[in-house]
């Protein structure tokens, strides 16, 4: 299986461990990731509230060069990038906008690319194939946390059940984990305020962690670098808002599957977390 790859900025900076685990897992599953050459920032989180043309042109350029490089399908691990690329595709179905963006880019944009997230890549790869490669089952009770950007707006993304997504939960069950029923799987972690109002991030992320912890989760499983960094990096600030400090780790779905497949903790970037991962 060969597929285009757009890591995005987060995966080269604050969320290097996500990139490392995606790459390591793809290698283990014999999926060839072809990174888009000369890719640029997708414009999240600022462009789409500041300048419409910019917010459409940035993702459009990524997709245009991917098309030029002959790619037909691109996996986008970051939920924000995934969301921006899909939204842009939708917006550019409008002839007027598409024409204007092509003028700005000075290159053709066809909109033919299939954009998928990591969960979709793993689903396409096949649960049975993953199951066959499990070496040490991931025997932990975990809370799968989807956040906002992966599933919303449903009318455009058309991915999973918007109010009660299940794709991550079923992958966890495939590797022998126990994904629990909980109340905050699509609540906002406050990522939009991750720089400007960290007090709000602490409060919102605290609610999420508290519900998972109260219900006995050993870890939170995520597929979004913003969610991960808020829940992990801001843990000190979060714990100050809570009566009892919470020390459950927040790991990526790719790291969880990687562990089950016997990939080493270093290779999966598990040593890079702020909250120690002892699973």
């Amino acid at each position: 299986m060969k597929i285009g790859y757009y890591p995005g900025c987060s995966l080269t900076g604050s969320s290097r461990e996500y990139n490392e685990s995606v790459v390591a897992l793809a290698k283990a599953l014999e999926i060839e990731l072809v990174e888009i050459k000369d890719w640029n920032c997708c414009g999240a989180t600022a462009a789409h509230v500041m300048n419409e043309e910019l917010s459409l042109s940035l993702p459009a350029r990524i997709m245009a060069i991917a098309e030029e490089q002959g790619l037909t399908e691109v996996v986008v691990p970051c939920a924000a990038c995934y969301n921006r690329l899909k939204m842009t595709q939708h917006e550019l179905e409008d002839d007027g906008k598409r024409g204007r963006v092509a003028e700005i880019l000075k290159m053709p944009y066809h909109g033919s690319l299939k954009i998928i997230n990591v969960l979709q890549m793993l689903e396409t790869y096949g649960a049975e194939n993953i199951k066959a490669r499990v070496i040490s089952p991931f025997a932990h009770k975990v809370a799968c946390y989807y956040g906002c950007l992966l599933v919303r707006p449903h009318s455009i993304l058309q991915f999973d059940r918007v109010e009660d997504p299940q794709s991550m939960d079923s992958l966890i069950r495939v590797i022998g984990g126990n994904s629990m029923d909980w109340a905050f799987k699509t609540e906002c972690c406050g990522a939009g305020f991750s720089v400007s109002r960290t007090d709000l991030v602490a409060k919102l992320s605290g609610n999420i962690l508290k519900d998972a912890s109260d219900r006995g989760a050993e870890a939170l499983i995520v597929a979004c670098p913003m969610c991960q960094s808020n829940l992990d990096m801001r843990r000190g600030a979060i714990n100050k808002t809570l009566a009892q400090p919470i020390d459950i780790p927040v790991i990526y779905i790719t790291q969880a599957i990687g562990l089950a497949l016997g990939i080493g903790a270093n290779e999966l970037g598990l040593k890079r977390h702020f909250v120690n991962v002892e699973l």
Binding site: R161, E163, W182, A183
Partner: protein
């Protein structure tokens, strides 16, 4: 040469705003064979019709074309006007300039040209029209009512009281429908059963009503005045002529844990059961899916208990045929279950209920005998949250329409809760309060002001369970979008009213149209609310759209009057738009070669064999003949006929060719 009169209607501004009607009249006036062409603001009005009548007489017209709305709207009007002026009504045709032109196009040159083309086609057609005579058919003065809820009960009683026979069929073992499940009714809080059950008894005892419960329509054939209904009487497994309804079998039945349909799943019933104590008929049926004997071949405890030997194990479904002249559809509605809402618990929290389940909790005949108790642990909820518009008015959920009854029953529920649980706290989350109806608004105000129900204008985002409580997270839009979180003991969802299961299939059996949500479609949204597009089939109640009891009863009586009016005729006049096999002078007799392809094509069994005999009685040929009582004028036989021997009167091949050629000759 023909003398055709053409009359172009402005339809107020409906047509004239986009079509240059004067130009249409002017250009058509110059066509060969057109003797007179005018335009007028309202052609269907009295002065408009007078123009037509006078022109028929003055110019001796032998054909009339009215360019106006859909023929479904006003063809009878204009044909009647022509008939009054002495012209055969079937020499009057309509060009649909409104639905087919002005409503669907912008104002432009092309729009006017299309209008001219549409009229031109009909002018060419009318030149080929021949005078036709209406067909008279007898009327079977017996009605079939499908569905035994309040709509079917009311329609049956009203028809029966005009002296006509009624056959009422009900899918469930008892009549009563949703109304029998309700606790009290808005806006008076009178007991639903107290007003309904006497009517149920009246139906059962009425000499003009034949009641079949546990029965479903298998098929319906024929046409207005002359339907043939095949009805499946599902095997009850109990002989009703000997059963006394003592109920001993029900008490002894060992299968006791079947969720009760009547209690909306909150209570249980046995395998041999009567849905509720006030059921009509008050005799049991055996639910064969759950009965031990039918499942495993052993048990038969009910048979041993029965003193009169009424259990019939080997009874099979029976199909009966009834001839009826009219049908009233009164199949009601259903409500969405809580499992429709992932964000509100996906049916996994026992204390998240639908409005119908709350009715059962509040009802004296319900599983808790009218006490409001949590299904999970039987405690009395101290805090309760009602969520209005659960699914309704939510295009994302696929239900953009308003279910109409929820605002009122939610106010009633909150009120009943406050009356039954003193010191309880109830909150209603709503989008808008739609309380249009006599004493309805006052009723809601009473809930808010006298019964201190807390109304919060906003949506609920999520309901989840934590430590035995249901956490309801919503927003108060009147407090500037402030988030509200309530720890409730029970949540009641006013889930959307939807079409009853099987309504789509039923509509197809009856050739009745239905809307995208599978509610049956009325013939006209304003002026024909109880008729369907199939003559002789009428609608009553919530099978057409969600509606409350008063509206349902009114509609049922309306449908009953339509049936009674139909039955006031001994024979009906039918349009002569039927297929005819040509007949020629001997020795040809007809171009029909007697292959009877038409017979295999006809969906209405209208093709008969006609033997042509010589003077000595010897058979010369056998050709096809169309029974004009059965023929629906669909034209399938015309397409099948290899020798072009069949034509539809009023739509002959020659006429249709003339229409098409008028467009090609430009």
């Amino acid at each position: 040469m023909s003398k055709i009169g053409v009359f172009i209607c402005h339809c107020g501004e409906n047509i004239s705003a986009t079509v240059d009607v004067e130009r249409v009249a002017r250009e058509i006036g110059g066509m060969e064979g057109v003797a007179h062409a005018i335009d007028y603001k309202y052609m269907c009005s009295d002065p408009g019709q007078t123009f037509i009548k006078e022109a028929v007489k003055k110019y001796g017209l032998d054909g009339v074309v009215v360019g106006a709305c859909s023929p479904r709207m006003h063809e009878p009007t204009f044909r009647r006007a022509c008939a009054e002026a002495g012209l055969n009504p079937y020499l009057c045709e309509m060009a649909n300039l409104r639905e087919h032109c002005s409503w669907v196009h912008e104002k432009s040159e092309e729009t006017t040209e299309k209008a001219i083309d549409l009229v031109k086609m009909l002018v060419e057609k009318v030149k080929k029209d021949k005078p036709l005579e209406s067909i008279k058919v007898p009327v079977t003065k017996r009605a079939l009512v499908i569905g035994g809820g309040i709509a079917g009960i009311q329609a049956s009683l009203d028809i029966a009281n005009t002296g006509h026979k009624v056959i009422l069929i009900e899918r469930d073992p008892s009549i009563g429908g949703h109304m029998s499940q309700l606790s009290e009714t808005f806006p008076t809080l009178d007991c639903s059963q107290c007003i309904l059950t006497p009517r149920m008894v009246e139906v059962a005892q009425h000499p003009n009503i034949k009641l079949y419960t546990y029965a479903e329509l298998e098929s319906l054939e024929g046409f207005i005045g002359n339907f043939k209904a095949r009805i499946r009487l599902k095997a009850k497994s109990v002989n009703y002529s000997t059963c006394t309804g003592c109920g001993a079998c029900i008490q002894k039945c060992p299968v006791k844990k079947i969720p009760s349909e009547f209690n909306a799943g909150l209570g249980t019933r046995t395998a041999i059961y009567v849905p509720f104590p006030q059921a009509v008929p008050n005799k049991p049926v055996i639910d064969r899916v759950n009965c031990n004997y039918y499942k495993r071949g052993a048990c038969k405890i009910c048979e041993k208990t029965c003193q009169v030997g009424s259990i019939e194990w080997d009874k099979e479904d029976e199909i009966i045929t009834e001839e009826v002249g009219a049908v009233v559809l009164a199949t009601g509605f259903d409500v969405k279950g809580t499992d429709f809402f992932p964000e509100y618990g996906y049916g996994k929290y026992k204390d998240v209920l639908t409005g119908l389940q709350f009715e059962r909790l509040a009802s004296a005949s319900g599983p808790t005998f009218g006490e409001i108790r949590r299904p999970s642990d039987g405690t009395i909820p101290k805090k309760i949250v009602f969520i209005a518009c659960a699914g309704s008015r939510d295009p994302a959920k696929g239900i953009p329409y308003c279910s109409k009854i929820c605002c009122m029953y939610t106010a009633k529920h909150a009120m009943l809760y406050q009356h039954k649980v003193h010191g309880g706290e109830s909150t209603v989350f709503y989008m808008d309060i739609r309380a249009g109806g006599k004493n309805y608004e006052e009723f809601v105000r009473r809930a808010i002001e006298e019964d201190t129900v807390n109304y919060v204008r906003g949506r609920v985002a999520r309901v989840y369970e934590k430590d035995g409580k249901l956490i309801v997270k919503g927003v108060d839009t009147l407090l500037g979008g402030q988030q509200v979180e309530i720890e409730a003991d029970m949540v009641v969802l006013a889930t959307a009213g939807v079409a009853n299961c099987g309504s789509e299939q039923l509509a197809q059996k009856l050739h009745v149209s239905y809307d995208p949500y599978h509610f049956f479609a009325e013939a006209h949204p304003k002026l024909k609310p109880v008729e369907t597009n199939t003559a002789g089939i009428f609608l009553a109640g919530a099978c057409q759209a969600p509606k409350d009891i008063p509206e349902t009863v009114g509609m049922a009586s309306g449908a009953a009057v339509k049936v009674a009016a139909l039955f006031s005729n001994d024979e009906l006049v039918r349009e002569p738009i039927v297929a005819v096999v040509n007949r020629l002078a001997p020795p040809l007799y007809s171009t029909c070669v007697g292959c009877f392809m038409c017979e295999t094509a006809c969906p209405y069994n209208a093709i008969e064999h006609e033997e042509i005999k010589g003077r000595d009685g010897s058979l010369i040929r056998t050709i096809a003949r169309v029974n004009e009582g059965l023929c629906q004028g669909c034209g399938t036989c015309v397409a099948f006929c290899r020798s072009k021997s069949i034509d539809i009167q009023g739509y002959t091949n020659e006429q249709v060719y003339a229409e098409v050629m008028s467009l090609l000759n430009d």
